[in-house]
């Protein structure tokens, strides 16, 4: 794998760039507002959910809009990047059959293009923070760190999914169900306190929970995450990446027989 990264990533850097640009272009082609959608979309979603949950369910969460948006941004990035990357090998079938290309470039480009969208959406978060006059803490400088954790984690999961969907097409449908379960199991729009005790102790096994808590700590509460929390996030990201790379490396030469 090391060898592959050294030799190919440099040579195909431009291809990666082009593929990311292509994804972004196609996503916003023929829409007047273009990239603004990446900012508007989470803003509008946040508005709807804030109205629903602060009037109907009345969760007692201080600064609910920011609380909600932090969870949403990370969860949406995760679900969108993995879903897109899952199809990437099948969608690239025509190319894979004809030209030799490093195959990891397909899931990687999808994850990176969604990551770019995440960066745009960050603007929405800052706008909401300003509007709700949330104070900006010094802990904000850790923002790139949690984003990188998240990027590596999603890439790892994406690699595993991209491989498995080549063999079993119906994983796509199962994963859709899994994602909506995950959405409810992660404290995105509700406070952790409403969870029953037994479930709370299981929460640390939900990586998304760790990342979202991390983000809320540094953004909302101005708390420095502890070393343990950092280690947990790093272990999770690198663990998934390692498994993903191993699975992908092992199976990539079979892809052509199944697509």
């Amino acid at each position: 794998m090391n060898w592959i990264l050294k030799n190919n990533l440099f040579k195909y850097k431009w291809l990666l760039e082009e593929l990311v640009i292509r994804d972004l272009k196609i996503k916003y082609r023929r829409s007047v507002l273009g990239y603004l959608w990446s900012v508007l979309n989470p803003l509008l979603m946040m508005l709807v959910l804030t109205v629903v949950f602060s009037t109907v369910f009345r969760f007692d969460i201080p600064n609910y809009p920011v609380y909600l948006l932090t969870g949403q941004l990370l969860f949406n990035f995760y679900s969108e990047s993995t879903t897109m990357a899952m199809d990437s090998i099948l969608n690239g079938a025509a190319l894979i059959k004809k030209v030799y290309l490093p195959k990891y470039i397909f899931p990687l480009s999808r994850v990176l293009s969604t990551f770019t969208t995440l960066l745009f959406s960050l603007l929405a978060l800052f706008i909401v923070m300003v509007v709700t006059s949330t104070s900006f803490h010094i802990t904000l400088i850790l923002l790139p760190v949690v984003f990188i954790y998240m990027l590596i984690f999603s890439l790892g999961v994406s690699l595993i999914l991209a491989v498995s969907v080549v063999y079993f097409r119906d994983i796509k449908h199962l994963y859709g169900v899994f994602l909506s379960a995950l959405n409810f199991l992660t404290p995105i729009f509700y406070p952790t306190s409403i969870l029953p005790e037994w479930l709370k102790s299981w929460m640390i096994f939900n990586p998304l929970y760790d990342y979202i808590e991390f983000l809320r700590d540094i953004l909302l509460y101005g708390k420095w995450p502890t070393w343990e929390e950092n280690l947990l996030c790093i272990a999770c990201s690198l663990g998934f990446l390692a498994v993903g790379m191993w699975v992908f490396e092992k199976h990539q030469k079979n892809f052509i027989l199944y697509i």
């Binding site: 272009k25 190319l95 030469k253 052509i256």
Partner: protein, 245 residues
Amino acid sequence: MENAVEIKDVSMRFNLAKERVDNIKEWVVRKLKGKGVSFDEFWALKDISLTIPKGDSFALIGSNGSGKSTLLKIISGVLTPTYGTVTLNGSLAPLIELGAGFDMDLSGRENVFLNGAILGHSKKMMEEKYDEIMDFSELKDFEDVPVKNYSSGMMARLGFSIATLVKPDILIVDEILSVGDHSFQEKCSKRMEEMMSGGTTVILVSHDESMVKKICRHAAWINKGHLMFVGDSEVAVEHYLSSIG
């Protein structure tokens, strides 16, 4: 003379699944019934050894399903052979099948750059050569039109122009020249001749015997995965024709 391509004892085995199982549901059902997934072994290529010298024009001929395209895929690195090795000396440019390298929603211009990146060219070079590509493909007026609105001939022209723009050491052509109108075919043949005289090795797969004889000096006849004859293209075509005679 140095060899552009060296193929040594290459064999390729495919597992032909009798019933294709590509979802978990079916796989579980089969496991429960205790059937498992059965495969038929199929050798698409058997002990092929070939060397293609630098600057040669080489054709692979044979009937449908004889393994020509499999061999071509192995040469271009898309397939990994079950046994044997392939050594390439020099850069390789595959002529990508109609539209395979194109994204239908992107314009002609954007596709030129995407395709260039796929073929491993640098951005700077593509910028320099962009006008030349558009001139050769005669698609200057359509550069901002999404490729999905192109005709198949237009796509083939664009594909050919991109693939042959930079002189690769080895050019792989898989039945692509039959598209495009007469005048463009002429242009293509001319360009291939130019490339060959410039030292490019051309590997062609074709059913068109007259074209093989015209373009290629040497040819290999493959039948059911076995190499039957290697040598002068005229002789190879004769052998091939008499076998199906």
